[in-house]
């Protein structure tokens, strides 16, 4: 059940990118896509252990695997960088083409005003 839900979250983000007309909504879909991969790794680590990977707080038998958590810290920061650059580029496109709609951006004439 958890597997189906995480795959559903991934497909939701992907479908959001494909079907949206507005550029900002595509970036919202991209952010959901990144978050779904992080959720997958953390849940895969969690289902095997019983307490947090901090040695002063271990109560019962085994701890949760700390390696996926360390990898996902990197993934969250990379997702922030991608979203930030994407949003600033989207605002630049809006200021030069006048609209955020993908069809109108594709049909707008090329203008270079350096």
């Amino acid at each position: 059940m958890i597997r189906i839900l995480v795959i559903g979250l991934f497909c939701l983000g992907l479908w959001g990118i494909l079907i949206s007309r507005s550029l900002l909504r595509k970036i919202i879909g991209l952010s959901i896509l990144n978050s779904s991969v992080v959720v997958l790794f953390i849940l895969a680590g969690r289902l095997d252990g019983k307490s947090a990977p901090i040695l002063s707080a271990v109560r019962e038998g085994s701890i949760v695997d700390p390696l996926p958590q360390a990898l996902m810290l990197t993934a969250i920061v990379v997702s922030l960088s991608v979203t930030a650059v994407g949003l600033i580029l989207a605002v630049k496109i809006y200021r030069s083409c006048g609209s955020l709609d993908i069809k109108e951006i594709e049909e707008s004439p090329d203008e270079y005003d350096h």
Partner: protein
């Protein structure tokens, strides 16, 4: 925002030091409890952006100018790079722990790594936020 009242200015300026203190706590206790360089760095950036959201544009660079934050980010990255070089000088591997393992293990190297990463991330993301706020109040397109 069209009108920034004095109450918003005072409230955001008075709440910011507690956020900055919490960020410094997360960075320094990263090896003992959940936290570390990235978490504390992002919260430091939040503490830098909070007063900038409330104050008027003449006062935004009163605490730390944009140039100072840019220098801070560069210094943080160079400090992290120098810690790696210290690892090469001591053991021959980049970013290796240079202190030999004595009777009790200590976490000096991880502490300095956390400081460097926290400084770099906090200054970098804080600078980005401050530039976004400046951009929204004085738009650069014409």
């Amino acid at each position: 925002m069209r009108t920034k009242t004095d109450m918003l200015d005072v409230a955001s300026r008075k709440l910011a030091p507690y956020v900055l203190l919490f960020g410094c706590y997360l960075i320094s206790y990263g090896h003992l409890s959940p936290g570390g360089g990235f978490q504390g760095g992002v919260i430091l950036a939040s503490g830098l952006i909070l007063p900038a959201l409330g104050c008027r544009k003449e006062r935004r660079e009163d605490l730390l100018s944009n140039y100072a934050l840019s220098i801070g980010e560069t210094v943080g990255f160079i400090f992290l790079f120098l810690l790696g070089i210290v690892g090469i000088a001591a053991t021959g591997t980049f970013l290796a722990d240079p202190f030999p393992a004595t009777v009790r293990p200590h976490a000096w190297f991880i502490f300095f790594l956390n400081l460097a990463i926290g400084l770099k991330v906090g200054a970098g993301i804080g600078l980005l936020g401050l530039l976004l706020i400046r951009e929204s109040e004085e738009p650069s397109y014409d």
